[in-house]
Each structure stands twice: as C-alpha cells, then as structure tokens.
C-alpha cells in the first residue's frame, strides 16, 4: 500500500493482540487550543455586534422617549465600555493561560477507571470508574469538525439523574470515536449484556413455576377439606 511518498507494509497478523501492560495517557490535541482561540474570536465578533446594534436600538428608542433619564447616552456608553474592558481583560488572560490549561489536561485510561486531570489554578483529578458509567456520547461541534477533533462525554449514575452536564468530558481528541468504542468495550467487560440476563432468568422462571404449582396444589387441598367455607 502507498501512503504519501513511501511504500507502506502493514503487519497486523491474524493472531491475538496482547493487552498492553502499561496505562494509556491521552493528551488533547494542540488543535484544542486553536478551538479555544476561535471561541474567543467568536465572542469578540459578538461584542462588536452588540456595540453596533445597541446604539442603533438606543437611537430608535430615543424617538419615543417620555422620560429622558432612562435613555441617557451616558448609560449606554458606560455599559458598552464595561463590556469592552471586560472583554479585553478576559481575552488577554485567556490567551495567556489557555496554552498552560491545554498542556495540563491529561486523560489516563486505567484497567477499570479513567482519571481526568484538568486545571491550572484549581487542579482537579477525577476518577471515573467504568462501573459507574451510565452513558457515553461523542460530540463534535462546528468548530470541532473544522479542526477535525471531538470530545467524549461520560455520564455516571450519580450525575445523570440530577444534572444535565456530564460527569466528565474528554476534550480535543482526534480519535474520539475509537476512544469511545474502547471505553464501551471496557464497560461490556464490567457488565453482563442483556442477552446474558435473559439466560440467567431461565432457572428463576422454573422456580417460579414450581412455586405456582405448589400454590395450586394447596388450593386444591383446601377445597377438599373445606372449600365452601373459604369461598364464603
């Protein structure tokens, strides 16, 4: 097979793949950083839009103004200044801190749980056991698709009932479909499938049938000895 310039020989074998002995560390792609920068850019487009639209609305409202204090141009200017100053300061802080934030992020896949490390100021280390996982989904928004990345959202039993946000999000993954499938396979190892459940019901049903038969026999016995009194 040819990939790029060079001849490539792939040797996959037909035998078994030995499971890796060491833990897997996944770091988000550098593209996640670009996604965050694009987010900031979009926020700025929003701020510029507001800065343009708000004075237009103000000029429109001023025509019908009964109480001139409520549409004071100073108030509008003050609001816009606050938005701009907050936006500039926020963007500068974000641009400086985001590379460190992305660099700090790490997802470690253990045998029976996933550890997620995040944060610069508040460093959080979360352990998500496979046993508690109720739902896994992959999300790739427009920006994610543009940058060819995605995220895996993991929901646990403790979280899914009360809050809408997932327990943990593994962001900025290139191989997010493969990682989701891997976690699903790990989950299957911890939980018996529905097919297996139905198989285990077999002996239970036999016991229930036996109890029912016994009860029917008892009823017959009662009928023989004083059935009329029981019926009354």
């Amino acid at each position: 097979m040819m990939i790029g310039k060079e001849k490539v020989t792939v040797i996959r074998g037909e035998g078994k793949f030995p499971p890796p002995t060491e833990i897997r560390r996944i770091r988000p792609s550098r593209r996640l950083l670009w996604k965050f920068y694009l987010d900031i850019l979009l926020v700025w487009i929003g701020i510029l839009g507001i800065s343009f639209i708000v004075p237009q609305i103000f000029n429109y409202l001023i025509r019908f103004d009964v109480n001139p204090d409520s549409t004071d141009p100073l108030v509008i200017n003050l609001i816009l200044t606050v938005i701009w100053v907050t936006g500039v300061i926020g963007s500068i802080i974000a641009i400086i801190l985001l590379p460190y934030y992305v660099k700090q992020m790490e997802f470690i896949v253990h045998g029976d749980f996933i550890t997620v490390k995040k944060g610069i100021i508040n460093k959080t280390v979360k352990h998500v056991p496979y046993r508690g996982v109720t739902n896994i989904s992959t999300v790739a928004g427009p920006l994610d698709r543009l940058l060819d990345i995605g995220c895996v959202r993991i929901e646990t039993a403790a979280r899914s009932g009360t809050k809408t946000t997932p327990e943990e999000v593994l962001e900025g993954l290139i191989l997010y479909h493969e990682i989701r499938d891997y976690i699903l396979r790990r989950l299957q190892a911890f939980r018996p499938s529905t097919m297996e459940n139905s198989v285990t019901l077999g002996p239970e049903k036999a016991i229930q049938d036996e109890i029912l038969l016994e009860l029917k026999n008892l009823k017959e016995e009662f009928r023989k000895f004083g059935g009329s009194t029981i019926e009354k």
Binding site: I3, K7, V8, R12, E14, G15, F17, I26, E178
Partner: protein, 182 residues
C-alpha cells in the same frame, strides 16, 4: 530508491542508525572530502583544521533534524490514515536516529510500531501473537529489519516467538540510540 530521504540524507541516517555519534560521522565525511579533493587535485590535501570539523558537525546536526522532521511527517500521515494514536510524548528515542515511532491502536487495543527501512519503505507492525498462517511472513519481515539494522539479538532470544523477538529488537534499538548528540 527511497522516496522520503535523499541519497545524502539516507547515507547519514544509516550511519546514525548504526550507532555512530555526530562527531564520528563528521570525521568520516571530512576524511571523504579530503580524499576526493586530493584525487581531484592530484596531491595530498592539507589536513583539515578544527573549524572545518565544527562546520561539518553543524551540517550533520542540520541534516539529522531534517531527517527527523521528514520521518515524523511521514509517520504522522500513516498514523492518520490507519487511525493510530501516535504517541509523541513517548517517542522511541530520537526518531532521526532510530527511524522508529510508537503508536497505539484503540480498536485492537495494542501497541503499534512504525519503522523506517531502506528496502521495504515503512513497516507498520501491530504487536501481536502470531498465528500459524502469519508466522512465516512476520519472521521474514522481522529478520529483514534485524539484518538491515545490523542488530545482534541475545543468543537466548533468537529461538523465542516472534513477539518476544520483536520486543528484544525494540530494546536493542533503544539501547543503540541512547546517545548524547551534543
């Protein structure tokens, strides 16, 4: 003819792969140049000074970084097409010296090794226990890598299965490339 590296780059890569230090390669290159000069001029050229050796060393370093960049780019392309997780944080030594990179396949849950070879191009090896059908082919490829890299496996390792032989090969490559290139 190799498509990724030029003739000169391939020549230097082979020396790097065989365990020569940058100093040694610079000396070899310099002595070759001196020999060519003397043949051309018909007389023995003057002995090169320290300055020229330093120049040669910096040239070799530059070529090495170009080799590394080219190989890593090619490996990344392959990893992308085969949906492999290329572990850049866990590079198997210096790629410019070893021509080797680690990857991971989430689907098969196994380690993957990407080799650059002169004859066979790039070999993508999924770590696996060979079945009777693939043993012969795997052994052939493994031996070609071992021969090309002039690696001598420990005597007790040669009779092992392909998988353990392969693990020994990786260890040997790592050991051979464990160089301080300053």
């Amino acid at each position: 003819m190799n498509e990724i590296l030029s003739k000169k780059q391939l020549e230097i890569f082979k020396l790097l792969r065989d365990g020569f230090s940058i100093q040694e390669i610079a000396e070899i290159e310099l002595s070759n140049d001196t020999m060519i000069k003397s043949i051309k001029q018909g007389k023995i050229a003057e002995k090169d000074n320290k300055e020229e050796l330093e120049k040669k060393k910096s040239y070799i370093r530059k070529v090495k970084s170009v080799i590394k960049k080219k190989l890593e780019n090619e490996f990344q392309k392959i990893a992308k097409s085969l949906r492999l997780d290329l572990d850049l944080s866990q590079v198997a030594g210096d790629t410019g010296r070893t021509g080797l990179m680690f990857g991971f396949d989430w689907v098969h849950n196994t380690k993957v090794y990407l080799f650059f070879t002169e004859k066979e191009g790039i070999i993508v090896w999924y770590e696996h226990e060979c079945s009777p059908r693939c043993t012969e082919m795997c052994e052939m490829t493994l031996n070609s890598i071992i021969d090309e890299r002039r690696i001598v496996l420990p005597a007790n390792g040669t009779k092992d299965s392909n998988l353990s032989k392969f693990r020994l090969l990786i260890e040997e490559i790592k050991r051979k490339s464990d160089y301080d290139d300053r």
